[in-house]
């Protein structure tokens, strides 16, 4: 189990790095917009000193835009904060709808870069499971990344969730699984190991082109605990 833990942790570190790098890029973009808008306000002040009359309505609108982008930057930081804390959380009862929503936010930049739209139908009622949040995030992100490679020409991925008495399921579709380039090797050994650590299952249905992640409501044995 210890070896398995190190292997999963070894994969978790690059995942953590990839996500934080992407978020810092997004943050830099928000800061760049704020920087230009504040700079334009400064330009107006310089121009006013040289006799150009101030357009107060324009300045008010610019200030509003700066506030909007500060809010955007704050949302990015908040997402990063939740993600960072999840890495230190032990096995716990967590709401899978919240975990999924977080992963979609974390992966949104990767989707944008590929011009892919992710359309999740996340239920408003909580769907609680017992899991290691960081491992669950990693597994969902792994599946979503693969789904982005399998997406069709319309570049649209839908996600919905299903509650059963024994488990909670995330379905990702429509995908062109039969045409995948990895010759059916997904979930690979490492993904499988990650799923095993939280007693989850990854199933691909080639007939209906759906990738499903199945999370048990509770984990029978302690498993790998990143918090210990």
């Amino acid at each position: 189990m210890e070896n398995e833990f190190y292997m999963i942790a070894g994969r978790g570190l690059p995942f953590f790095g990839k996500i934080t790098a992407s978020i810092s890029h997004e943050l830099k973009n928000a800061l760049a917009v704020i920087n230009e808008k504040a700079g334009l306000l400064e330009d107006f002040a310089v121009m006013a000193n040289s006799g150009t009359p101030l357009d107060l309505q324009r300045m008010e609108s610019l200030a509003g835009e700066i506030i909007k982008h500060i809010g955007r930057a704050n949302d990015i930081i908040r997402t990063l904060n939740v993600f960072a804390h999840s890495a230190e959380e032990p096995l716990k009862t967590a709401d899978l709808t919240e975990i999924l929503a977080l992963v979609i936010r974390l992966c949104s930049r990767f989707a944008d870069m590929k011009s892919i739209t992710i359309a999740p139908k996340i239920p408003t009622d909580p769907m609680t499971i017992q899991t290691h949040p960081f491992f669950a995030e990693h597994l969902i992100c792994q599946c979503l990344t693969v789904a982005m490679d399998w997406v069709g020409m319309d570049k649209n991925i839908e996600i919905d969730m299903e509650n059963t008495p024994d488990d909670v399921r995330i379905h990702i579709f429509p995908l062109y699984i039969a045409k995948q380039t990895d010759n059916g090797s997904f979930p690979d050994k490492e993904t499988q190991m990650l799923a095993n650590a939280i007693h989850a299952r990854v199933e691909k249905n080639e007939a209906s082109n759906i990738l499903s992640l199945i999370f048990p409501r509770s984990i029978p044995s302690p498993g790998c605990n990143p918090g210990t």
């Binding site: 810092s24 890029h25 830099k28 800061l31 917009v33 808008k37 334009l40 330009d43 835009e65 011009s115």
Partner: protein
């Protein structure tokens, strides 16, 4: 002489505001959020400098740079990047980028880099003109 600049970045709010600031500084600025559109614009118009974001949907900035340079090797391109890593910088320079700048930046730094790139372009154009004149003189035996 006004520098003719094309700004390419998928962040609409960013290019709109930066365009306005550059125009305030006497530059002739066009802007687009689409790298594909940018390639078309660069074919139809002659720009002194193209300012290009490294990470964009549709096409990566490096891909756009390569496509631009293939069509016009003398084109001056300044790359904008979220994180100016040494590797990316080397890759960009190898592909012929004139310079690169990390976001967010001071507009004074960008203006300086644009002026340098513009001067570089003028030198290349002047050199090419002199070579042409020399060739004509040789051909005509003057």
């Amino acid at each position: 002489m006004k520098e003719k600049v094309l700004l390419v970045d998928d962040e609409k709010d960013f290019i709109e505001t930066l365009s306005e600031r550059m125009k305030n500084r006497g530059m002739d600025v066009s802007a687009t959020t689409s790298p594909v559109e940018a390639l078309k614009m660069a074919e139809e118009e002659s720009y002194d400098v193209i300012i290009l974001d490294l990470k964009m949907p549709e096409m990566d900035g490096i891909e756009v740079l390569a496509a631009l340079k293939e069509k016009n090797p003398e084109l001056q391109v300044i790359l904008l990047t979220g994180h100016a890593t040494v590797e990316k910088g080397i890759e960009a320079m190898k592909l012929g980028a004139t310079d690169f700048l990390e976001k967010p930046f001071d507009i004074k730094d960008l203006s300086e880099k644009i002026k340098k790139a513009h001067t570089q372009k003028m030198i290349i154009v002047e050199k090419r003109t002199q070579e042409k004149i020399k060739q004509i003189i040789q051909e005509k035996g003057w």
